[in-house]
Symmetry: C2
Subunit: 485 residues, 2 copies
């Protein structure tokens, strides 16, 4: 039996009623008590719309101040919320809605058109959640407790199979992730965490939970902008932020010769390898960078490297956090093998997939630990591309490309890119020699989010494969002597 604790928003509204829970650069702000009131109001509205405990509902919204209100409302009802990536195209959304058995899709009005296209020929109802009418009489009883064992969120991720699958997070997963982070980074009453990552990803979402678990203020940006970020650090007493490499590079340019004030104590940096020169520049400007390793399945960071070790252990993602266990599936200590993780923040499994039998998960990433136990991630088993902080799965893109009439085979890999870190590029074997780049791009545009679309198409005679006919994605780039579009 999992633990139950008092509802975390009720608790913070009780402990810190007048403290700022949320603020935005545009000047909106809610205290914990106001956030509680808005969220309970929204919960009553959802109940009126027919949402019940255990229902699967989807949510399609940018980083609006309504986002936290909505997700807390869900927690008062005990429904499960599927967080949709706003960059997805209608067919991608449609797949996720069906796979997750969603009954209702709540959308920010700017996404209504996409949503309506996504639910065509389904029974999913689309509801705009903004401008909730006042609910004069409370509808139904709201939950008073958080049940650590209950499912709360689903976030889609892809693997080697090509089809995205939903990672199910319980309240306990999110709570322990927040607790482990505080035990690592420390905690003070003045902490204020800036969010510029999408809230529909675990990296952004987890900060909303930290706010509940710590009673911490959140500075919520609708999207990353280096000027507004800089302003928030310099003048708004922001103490923490979560970023990906491409953002940090832009921030560093923005700081000019000056550094950050001492009040800023943690730049949590996720999403892949970090150029050494970037760390050096940050160090020179007094920007404390904590490199992390984590994934949707681990409810955000599971290993973190402190700034103190950034140079001694250059390239490392640090050590597993206090509640987590991490080891390498290798023949001998120090050797490279698959990274295995375990802990109460690790998702119990995927929706609609066979349950995992083990307590631990195979991350699909390759790495090793040095003699001091520091983790080095050397490669992704999945061949995952990280583009501007978004995970891009070659198999998913290949699956769409292979559907195009006239395409015989498709291979996708990442190409280094100054702006995004990496971008996907496609290698196609044509059956129909009249097929054009334009036709391919057009097909893809209707079906895939922009960040997944190949930045370049290479027509080749055959794809590199090993003896068992497995595609060797690492060798694709060596074919770029071929025709480049």
């Amino acid at each position: 039996m999992g633990e139950k604790i008092p509802h975390w928003l009720d608790k913070q509204a009780f402990l810190n009623p007048e403290k700022t829970a949320l603020e935005t650069p545009e000047g909106s702000a809610y205290t914990f008590m106001e956030l509680q009131e808005k969220s309970r109001q929204m919960a009553h509205y959802l109940i009126r719309m027919g949402v019940e405990e255990g229902d699967h509902i989807a949510f399609l919204s940018g980083n609006d101040i309504h986002f936290p209100v909505f997700i807390h409302a869900v927690s008062y009802i005990g429904a499960v919320v599927v967080l949709l990536n706003t960059r997805l195209e209608a067919p991608e959304i449609s797949y996720q809605l069906q796979d997750a058995d969603v009954s209702r899709l709540f959308v920010q009005s700017s996404f209504t058109d996409t949503a309506l296209r996504a639910v065509e020929n389904t029974e999913v109802e689309v509801v705009e959640f903004e401008n909730v009418p006042p609910v004069s009489s409370p509808e139904g009883a709201l939950k008073k407790e958080i049940d650590f064992d209950a499912p709360y969120t689903m976030m889609y991720t892809s693997g080697t199979t090509g089809k995205p699958k939903a990672v199910v997070h319980t309240y306990g997963n999110h709570w322990y992730s927040a607790a482990a982070s505080a035990l690592n980074l420390g905690l003070t009453p003045d902490d204020k965490w800036l969010i510029c990552l999408p809230l529909f990803h675990v990296g952004g979402f987890s900060v909303l939970i930290k706010s509940m678990v710590y009673g911490m203020s959140v500075y919520l940006m609708d999207k990353f902008d280096e000027n507004r970020f800089h302003e928030a650090v310099m003048n708004k007493r922001v103490t923490h932020a979560s970023v990906v490499t491409v953002m940090l590079q832009r921030l560093l340019k923005r700081t000019g010769s000056s550094g950050y004030p001492d009040t800023f104590r943690c730049m949590l940096l996720g999403g892949g390898p970090v150029p050494a020169v970037l760390l050096k520049d940050c160090s020179a400007k007094g920007i404390p960078v904590f490199q992390t390793y984590g994934m949707t399945e681990t409810s955000s960071q599971i290993a973190t490297l402190s700034p103190a070790s950034a140079f001694d252990k250059a390239g490392s993602a640090g050590k597993a956090l206090s509640l987590a266990d991490l080891w390498i599936d290798s023949a001998a200590p120090g050797e490279i093998g698959e990274i295995i993780v375990q802990g109460p923040m690790v998702s119990k499994g995927y929706y609609n997939r066979p349950p995992r039998q083990e307590a631990y998960i195979h991350t699909g990433d390759l790495g090793y630990q040095d003699a001091d136990g520091f983790l080095y991630v050397v490669d992704r088993v999945k061949d995952m591309i990280i583009s501007g902080g978004e995970n891009v799965y070659p198999a998913e893109i290949e699956s769409v490309l292979s559907e195009i009439p006239g395409i015989k085979e498709a291979g996708v890999t990442g190409r280094p890119d100054d702006r995004w870190g990496e971008v996907p590029v496609a290698f196609l074997v044509a059956e129909d020699q009249t097929l054009t780049d334009k036709a391919v791009h057009q097909y893809v545009e209707e079906r895939m989010a922009k960040y997944k679309r190949p930045a370049a198409i290479y027509w080749v005679r055959e794809l590199p494969r090993n003896a068992s006919n497995k595609l060797l994605r690492r060798e694709l780039l060596s074919l770029t002597g071929g025709e480049n579009s």
Copy 2:
């Protein structure tokens, strides 16, 4: 199913190998890695002595540096440790050993005589645990995980029944207590918590667990001493300490006109009501006092008042910590009733007693909450006396007094005392008029810890009782017109 996490001492030895885990005023110190090594060594020794997972073993020791080593060794084996109060007399220990089904009693050598008397006519084995011989070859496998659901400690407490009963704490109870405290008080890498409370009580013990959960340094004193405490705060960078009122009064005198440095950020004050003048003096000297409410059953503090509210809410014990729920069993909001508490730090029950059916516990204390939700403890349903930080239960003392041949009835209550806050005093109805004070004192001395022994004996003709013949302990002091010894 409860959560499992990596063994907390192994984890801290991995994360912070060179950090000081423990230091004493005498100059002993262990890093986390040394503490791990000593504790694992002790675990192998215990296994060699025959201790197995699930065994109940007892531990009788002062605040020695071996104490943490021993309790961590126990956690590597999965045995359950009964922590004995070193002030108990042999018959009291004997009762606890039998009630708790203890097989072995490990003692500090200064308590060997008492221990041997306590185990007379039992099969309990007494083992001196100091000077553990080096175990050249490891014996048996040590646990790699902490299982939140597994029982870890038993601590005896009394209630209205007169017979002490063992509060069973799981690892989860202790872990959540530590987590809730950090979420309330904050956490920094420089935290160093001074222990001057006995480690066999939950107030001292809980700091050893905090050290494991936070990777925090502990400054361990064998007993309270205001000079050494003062020295530690002024020159050893101690940041936190847990004390009871009588200690704080002595500390305040010791500080003279100077205050404490800014590095000292939390004086956690438990054990009953606090004189307003004491708070005022502390405030004037910049000593940040956090008043708390808690008990063995809640694994230490469950509500805490921050210094910021100390005067606005004078007399309050604050609000329930973030993981805990607390309410008053009363007819209307604001009215006095029994205090009810619930949360993952609350013990699931007593050993050898029927399991509790509810998730919450009745504390036996009376209190109310003001309009802002602050708790005020107004009285103890149990008539508990708090003497120098020790809980003293009238019913337990009455039970011993009533055994004396020639005593017809006994009533015990607390009398205010300048030094100890309160002391127990006894009201006796004699059958045998020749019975002397001396005979009573002698009987008691052989059977009860010093702090429980009546400071005064009053011979009375009858005890105040209500219509249902229930003893009215509150009215006893009004009888002191009788003969006073």
